[in-house]
């Protein structure tokens, strides 16, 4: 047996798993999304989605929220990753543990925590009202802001850790060299560290964007029935109206929407440092 055949053999279990657990369901979903009531095929489900202002608004909200969440995760995660990368090894381990800690509790429990904090009588809304920063009947629960807050907390580790891996490989001497060439600390960050950590930023943004576009537990609980996102709408169609073909059509649209944004993004980012 040649080396090539041996590596093919080693690849086989992974390929089988991918095919069985990923490709087959996706193909099934595609088939289901065009399944007519009489066994034939139809585009009615897509027509229904695209013709309904409510569903179009859900789609727009999903994309908008995912972009906002990705941007905030990047703005918070980059400095965080930089500080972790430049810390000494021991404090770095503690910082990483702190960042990962939220991932160790269940999504549902964590989201209930946010519900308590953000509700009308909760700590955050109460404080904002007490300081006169918000009207009397103000509440954060069941708003897009609540979804963004909850999702950023969940997804920040993915962004921070993706960028951390890249910054750790940047020679600190390059930054020092930039300082001796007239860069202030922040200028060196912008002119040297930022462009060199682009691969991590791209990877982290992809992760955060796809995860936030497809998540439904947190948006569902924090946004409520009136502020729906697409994944939650799919879930509703599956479990409440039992309209599986329409659920499949929505899932295909979500899938296509994510691809439509990711593919150009990867192209542009890839050109930037290729």
């Amino acid at each position: 047996m040649t080396d090539r055949q041996e590596s093919a053999l080693l690849l086989l279990p992974g390929l089988l798993l991918l095919a069985g657990a990923f490709l087959v369901p996706i193909l099934q979903m595609l088939a289901l999304s065009v399944a007519g009531p009489d066994g034939g095929w139809t585009l009615d489900h897509f027509r229904r989605f695209l013709g309904d202002g409510f569903y179009l608004a859900v789609l727009a909200r999903t994309v908008r929220l995912s972009l906002v969440i990705t941007a905030i995760c990047l703005a918070v995660g980059f400095p965080m990753a930089y500080i972790m990368a430049r810390a000494r090894p021991r404090p770095r381990v503690w910082l990483i543990v702190l960042v990962i800690l939220p991932l160790m509790t269940s999504v549902v429990v964590r989201t209930f925590g946010w519900m308590v904090l953000l509700s009308r009588s909760g700590l955050v809304s109460g404080l904002l009202r007490d300081f006169g920063l918000a009207p009397r009947n103000f509440a954060l629960m069941y708003t897009e802001t609540a979804i963004v807050i909850g999702m950023v907390q969940v997804l920040l580790p993915f962004m921070a850790l993706s960028i951390l891996g890249v910054i750790l490989r940047i020679d600190p001497r390059i930054e020092e060299a930039a300082r001796t060439m007239g860069c202030s600390f922040l200028r060196a960050l912008a002119a040297v560290v930022l462009p060199l950590s682009l691969p991590g930023i791209v990877a982290g943004s992809l992760l955060v964007f796809t995860l936030s576009a497809s998540s439904f537990v947190t948006p569902n609980l924090l946004g409520g029935p009136r502020v729906q996102v697409l994944a939650a709408s799919v879930w509703r169609a599956v479990t409440q109206t039992l309209d599986w073909p329409f659920a499949a059509a929505q899932a295909v649209i979500l899938f296509a929407g994510v691809l439509a944004i990711l593919v150009p993004y990867i192209r542009i980012a890839g050109r930037g440092h290729g």
């Binding site: 001497r173 390059i174 930039a178 060439m181 007239g182 860069c183 200028r187």
Partner: protein, 352 residues
């Protein structure tokens, strides 16, 4: 002009003090080497001049201005790193333009002209569009040099910039550095652990040992007259041999542990226990009975290492091991008995 003054510099990392009150002035346009073994604090001292490290106590002045509290970007310096620290995402020309762009020196056209001139100086003009990783180590090193001189800094700081090059390239770069320094007249501080490099490049060598200045002076002076045992051992890798100095028949001799004596020649030698420093290249080996080495101590050859142009012998004089660097002829095999000739006046006696 750009004189660098370091006054009573102390630096501690945690509870460990690395630099113990160093004072040093580098004259404007002078090329000074900080020479020492790794961990002696020479690189830390250079980084303090650059502003990349703060001092615990002490004062740093560049061109008469106190810069102790200034960050690196506000000191008019350029630094070349051992790893070159080129920016991998920028082309060679953009790397060289970087300090001009960051300091806002000149218009776009002026910057381009200065970049072209700097690349011409290091003979890299044809490579302006390449990325650093597409260049060899020697070429990367030249890019780093061009980048360091392009902004015409007051002070040029070099942190072992040649140690990653092979021997041949390093010798070429020595010549280039000397010529460049002569032409630009930049105040230059050069950190190295390589004594040959320090001897061939510098106007002045500052020998640093354990966070203190051991000795400083012109290369020839410091090489010919090392003041301490450390200086003798570090510069020229001299043999340090414990002896007793006595007077025999009115002449001063150094007596080795096995009783053999070595004539010291005229001079005011303190009698009693001492250490003699014998340079490797000043010990000559002769066949026993050869008149040229008459009266010299006898030793036995332990190992002969052929070095091409020269030959290194390890010889045993009683219990003392000596290294000698000689020509290839005559050759002595391991085990051969030889007479050593060490010219009077070439022997340095250190107290203790």
């Amino acid at each position: 002009m750009a004189e660098v003054r370091l006054a009573d510099i102390r630096k501690s990392f945690g509870r460990t003090e690395i630099l113990h009150g160093l004072t040093l002035t580098v004259a404007s346009g002078e090329f000074v080497s900080l020479l020492g073994a790794s961990g002696c604090g020479k690189t830390t001292l250079l980084r303090i001049v650059a502003g990349l490290e703060t001092v615990t106590t002490g004062r740093v002045e560049i061109a008469g201005a106190d810069v102790t509290a200034l960050p690196p970007e506000r000191r008019d310096i350029a630094m070349m790193f051992q790893s070159y620290a080129l920016l991998p995402h920028l082309s060679v020309a953009e790397n060289v333009r970087f300090p001009l762009r960051m300091r806002g020196l000149g218009s776009r056209d002026e910057q381009a002209a200065r970049v072209a001139e700097a690349l011409e100086t290091v003979q890299l003009a044809p490579f302006a569009g390449r990325r650093p990783r597409q260049l060899s180590g020697g070429q990367q090193q030249r890019v780093a040099l061009a980048r360091a001189i392009v902004s015409r800094p007051k002070v040029l700081l070099l942190d072992e910039p040649l140690s990653n090059l092979d021997a041949r390239l390093r010798q070429d770069m020595h010549v280039e550095l000397i010529e460049l320094h002569r032409r630009l007249g930049l105040t230059t501080i050069f950190v190295t652990h390589d004594q040959e490099e320090a001897l061939s490049l510098s106007d002045r060598i500052v020998l640093i040992n354990a966070g203190q200045i051991e000795q400083e002076g012109a290369p020839a002076a410091i090489y010919d007259r090392p003041a301490t045992a450390f200086a003798s051992a570090f510069l020229g890798a001299a043999n340090l041999v414990p002896v007793r100095i006595e007077r025999r028949a009115g002449e001063a001799v150094a007596v080795f542990a096995d009783g053999q004596a070595l004539a010291l020649g005229p001079g005011a030698w303190p009698e009693g226990a001492a250490t003699v420093a014998l340079r490797q290249e000043e010990i000559a080996l002769h066949a026993v009975g050869d008149l040229a080495a008459a009266g010299g101590p006898r030793a036995r050859v332990r190992t002969r290492v052929f070095l091409g142009a020269r030959c290194r012998y390890v010889v045993a004089l009683g219990d003392v091991t000596l290294r000698a660097l000689t020509g290839n002829e005559p050759a002595f095999a391991a085990g051969a008995e030889v007479s050593l000739r060490i010219p009077e006046g070439r022997i340095r006696v250190l107290p203790g």
